[in-house]
């Protein structure tokens, strides 16, 4: 008898594996998730928050973009990611480019039945810029007049900030300087409208499914922390209603576990693929790849010996063959010599120091450093990760082979590495990356401005800063490219505080039953634009 118990339990347990096709909602009712109308996907961490104004990570924003809309949306079906109307039907730019007026839709309803109006947009800007909110991802909004000063407490009265309500369905922004791509910023989740009354009523718990009020294509109905979220089609959505009725976002940390779930047919969509499996996966019909607006680069600490010497930096720039790095990684990244990555205006293969060993050796000789006689320790720092290690080892080997330089590698835990970037650190070259918030070259050019917090090289050049500001305001695309070419020349050919290495790629696995999937460079995948094959 006793020997039967364990097998019986096993059998009993296995019969139940279909039981997760429903969830119990906060109000106690069961929500069934019919397989043919439910798309399951996976995120690799618990979303830190679903408050679209304070979140600053991609997991949160991916879910938020299904729950909410902005004034503007990216056209994901076109490769260009052009801005298209969303909550705003249209917008107008003043002659001088300083004032932007957005005309809002009048037929939008929040999930609790309240009508959407310009007040909710105004409230969002007030809330995110208030110092007490302590929002992280606000820097894109500092193009608005006095937004920076309000956020750092210099100005107390929000009336002085360039956000103005003109009636119930018009909102106007006055900018500090003309910004050619301003509508793109209005597609970011930090500009989505918000309901202050809901936040006031529920406090920090307003993002829980029983409290949250949204207006996007889906509504949040279930959130089992650290386990899964379930979204349901919003029946009162102003736009075209999604075909897929339910979305499940499982929270699974490890990409190998995610892959196993995909291969068992448990999930339909994965964004994060284990690098060791790429070779096998890339042969599958489910595999999709696109170039990302993501830059992978090395930077010099220019205040630190020996990289105060510009010739030495230039020599290194010529001595590293990016093609070789990309080959070592072997998953489709593109070798990059210019600062603006592939797929954006301003990217050019002719800008930036080309790989040329002889030239590199010549420059090194002329730099005055005699490494054989007087070796200076050069350390290359990166955060512990398999991919970063492979890149660093390849660069180390290349510099040894091409210039005879011995450099040391230093792999550090993420936060330790970051704190080293701020202060005293052992390394004089370090790895970093940059992800575009919006598809415009400015997001890349701006990080190297003199006082930009993300310029961690210690390098600055007033001419470069001036050119970047000029490029931001220029509406003529040809002139803009010319300006950016000039700025990139300063950055890459003359002063070389940074070495762009490659443009990253987005890789996803999409189940065969999903239709209407478009790979895109921003890694934005909106399920309300996709369909499930019956």
């Amino acid at each position: 008898m006793r020997t039967l118990i364990l097998p019986a339990l096993f059998l009993f347990a296995s019969c139940q594996s279909h039981l997760d096709s429903w969830v119990r909602l906060p109000d106690g009712t069961r929500l069934h998730l019919p397989h043919d109308q439910t798309l399951a996907t996976v995120v690799n961490s618990e979303p830190p928050t679903l408050d679209w104004l304070t979140s600053s990570d991609t997991t949160s924003s991916w879910i938020e973009e299904h729950l909410m809309d902005g004034l503007v949306a990216f056209d994901l079906s076109s490769g260009e990611l052009d801005p298209k109307p969303a909550l705003a039907q249209r917008w107008k730019r003043s002659e001088d480019g300083l004032v932007w007026t957005f005309y809002l839709r009048e037929d939008v309803v929040w999930s609790d039945g309240v009508h959407f109006s310009s007040q909710h947009v105004f409230d969002a800007f007030h809330r995110i810029l208030k110092p007490e909110t302590a929002a992280v991802a606000v820097d894109n909004l500092f193009v608005i007049q006095n937004a920076f000063e309000f956020n750092n407490g210099e100005i107390q009265d929000f009336k002085n900030v360039g956000v103005k309500k003109l009636g119930d369905y018009q909102i106007q922004f006055r900018l500090k300087a003309p910004v050619a791509f301003f509508p793109l910023i209005m597609a970011h989740h930090t500009t989505f409208p918000v309901r202050l009354d809901i936040i006031k009523k529920h406090g920090d718990r307003w993002i829980e499914p029983e409290n949250i009020v949204t207006l996007g294509p889906y509504r949040l109905v279930y959130w089992h922390h650290d386990s899964r979220l379930v979204l349901k089609r919003n029946q009162t959505y102003w736009g075209e209603k999604p075909q897929i009725s339910h979305l499940i976002f499982y929270i699974v940390d490890r990409s190998s576990t995610q892959l196993r779930m995909f291969e068992r047919g448990k999930i339909d969509f994965i964004k994060d693929l284990p690098s060791s499996e790429i070779a096998r996966l890339s042969k599958k019909p489910e595999y999709n790849r696109s170039t990302a607006l993501r830059l992978y680069y090395y930077a010099f600490k220019v205040n630190k010996k020996p990289f105060g010497n510009v010739k030495l930096r230039r020599a290194l720039a010529h001595a590293i063959d990016r093609e070789e790095i990309v080959k070592v990684l072997g998953s489709g990244q593109k070798a990059l010599y210019s600062w603006i990555p592939h797929g954006l205006p301003g990217h050019s293969d002719t800008i930036g120091p080309k790989f040329d060993v002889k030239k590199a050796q010549k420059i090194l000789k002329s730099s005055g450093y005699e490494f054989h006689k007087n070796p200076i320790q050069i350390t290359l720092g990166f955060n512990s990760d398999e991919k970063h290690k492979r890149v660093a080892e390849n660069v180390q080997a290349q510099l040894k082979r091409n210039l005879g330089l011995n450099i040391e590698l230093l792999s550090e835990e993420w936060k330790t590495f970051l704190s080293g970037l701020r202060g005293a650190s052992a390394y004089s070259i370090f790895r970093l990356g940059w992800v575009a918030d919006y598809p415009d070259p400015h997001t890349f050019m701006a990080i190297m401005k003199g006082h930009a917090p993300n310029n961690r090289t210690g390098w600055q050049n007033p001419n470069y800063d001036k050119l970047v500001d000029l490029g931001m305001s220029e509406t003529n695309i040809k002139k803009r490219i010319r300006i950016y070419n000039q700025a990139q020349k300063i950055l890459l050919n003359e002063e070389v505080p940074v070495l762009p290495l490659f443009t990253e790629i987005n890789q996803v696995l999409v189940s065969q039953r999903v239709q209407g999937f478009h790979p895109n460079r921003l890694d934005l995948y909106h399920f309300h634009l996709m369909e499930l094959r019956k």
């Binding site: 339990l9 096993f10 009993f12 347990a13 296995s14 019969c15 139940q16 594996s17 279909h18 039981l19 997760d20 961490s45 618990e46 830190p48 928050t49 304070t54 979140s55 600053s56 110092p131 909110t133 302590a134 929002a135 992280v136 991802a137 606000v138 820097d139 956020n151 750092n152 407490g153 406090g203 920090d204 718990r205 993002i207 089992h224 922390h225 650290d226 386990s227 499982y250 929270i251 699974v252 940390d253 490890r254 190998s256 576990t257 196993r260 779930m261 068992r264 448990k266 835990e413 993420w414 936060k415 330790t416 590495f417 970051l418 704190s419 970037l421 701020r422 970093l432 990356g433 961690r456």
Partner: protein, 375 residues
């Protein structure tokens, strides 16, 4: 008194079992049942402590535990601040004033001694604070959500390890020197040496993907898939999901317990009273189960104390591989995220578990062997 004790013991046993059954059948466990279970269990413990004359010992231990916890809290607080990098460092650097805004929100702009004072007085009032990473989530809420999951995983793994470990050890000792003994110990050694990050994928490939049937018997493999009989590869929604993680987590302790039981039984089996019992003409079964086993459980219990604390507060590797929403994951990621209040709270939670487990083990010593004097 005895009747009451017996009643309470049987009540807690019965309620405990029925809770396990209802959990495994995914039935809804009413809160009242849970509360009643804990009342019975605590009642049993209280009466047990009182009747064994351990009240003073108990009170003293609680007192010293509070001091221990205070020291742990202080040390954790200081050590966290010594870690390089702060909670709000990220690839995207923050403008200085934004960083200040955030630090003000969490009181991190204050001098260290004031932060310490605020934190400790919060702890005294029962506020564990808010997580830095999971914005707006109270740490008490995180623990409330995640701890029961780890507890359940650990509890089943623990039961499994005793169910496997003790009989295996006993068997090996009873057949000392035979092939059975060697086989059992071989099994135990492999169980100890197989790390869970290797064990888990192997189990998953066999029980969840049907390997190697998919190569050798594809049609039968398809049947397995159609019958939906293979176990899920990850997640924690139903008892079917429990099987592989519990197995992974339970293997190592069961192997350990098997080895401990064996060596301890071998020790006891050579003592005089066993020889007497055999000379009396008692059957080998009676000797083994009634005289030897009970006396050889003490070393096993000593190991069980820290084991219980460790296993109940979760295993990081198992939780990560099977995507289980448990507490151990928060512990490790809390450190990576420099989520100070979360790490503080979880360190204290783990310490409390460890102290409690050791206390219970000490009391059990006395129950198993009344000659032992604990003070």
């Amino acid at each position: 008194m005895t009747v009451l004790t017996k009643f309470l013991v049987y009540c807690s046993l019965f309620l405990g079992l029925s809770m396990i059954v209802s959990d495994l059948s995914m039935m809804y466990v009413p809160n009242l049942l849970t509360i009643f279970f804990w009342v019975c269990l605590l009642g049993t413990l209280t009466i047990g402590v009182y009747r064994q004359g351990l009240t003073l010992f108990f009170v003293k231990r609680i007192g010293s535990s509070i001091i221990t916890l205070f020291i742990i809290a202080t040390a954790t607080f200081l050590m966290l601040r010594l870690l390089p990098g702060g909670p709000f460092d990220d690839e995207k650097a923050l403008a200085p004033h934004i960083k200040l805004n955030i630090e003000k929100k969490y009181g991190l702009h204050l001098p260290l001694h004031e932060q310490y004072y605020n934190h400790m007085s919060g702890l005294l009032q029962g506020h564990l604070g808010y997580s830095y990473k999971y914005e707006g989530r109270e740490i008490a809420d995180i623990i409330k959500d995640a701890f029961p999951v780890s507890f359940k995983l650990g509890f089943y793994a623990l039961i499994l390890s005793f169910i496997i470990g003790v009989p295996l050890g006993l068997l090996a000792a009873a057949r000392y020197g035979t092939a059975t003994d060697s086989a059992a110990m071989m099994l135990a050694i492999s169980g100890i040496s197989l790390p869970s990050f290797l064990m888990a994928p192997i189990l998953i490939y066999i029980f969840s993907f049907g390997w190697p049937l998919d190569i050798f018997a594809p049609s039968f493999h398809q049947n397995l898939l159609d019958w939906n009989i293979l176990l899920p590869a990850a997640l924690w929604h139903s008892p079917a999901h429990y099987v592989l993680p519990v197995l992974t987590l339970g293997v190592r302790p069961s192997a350990f317990i098997a080895r401990l039981t064996r060596s301890s039984v071998l020790d006891v089996i050579q003592s005089d009273f066993v020889r007497t019992a055999r000379a009396k003409g008692l059957s080998e079964k009676v000797v083994l189960y009634q005289h030897v086993l009970r006396n050889s459980l003490i070393p096993v219990l000593t190991y069980a104390g820290p084991l219980v604390a460790g296993i109940l507060s979760g295993s990081f590797v198992v939780e990560i591989i099977f995507a289980i929403p448990g507490i151990a994951k928060y512990f490790v990621q809390g450190v990576f995220n420099r989520d100070y209040p979360l790490i503080m709270a979880l360190t204290l939670l783990f310490s409390v578990m460890l102290i409690l487990a050791n206390l219970i083990v000490d009391i059990l010593y006395k129950v198993i062997d009344p000659r032992i004097e604990i003070s």
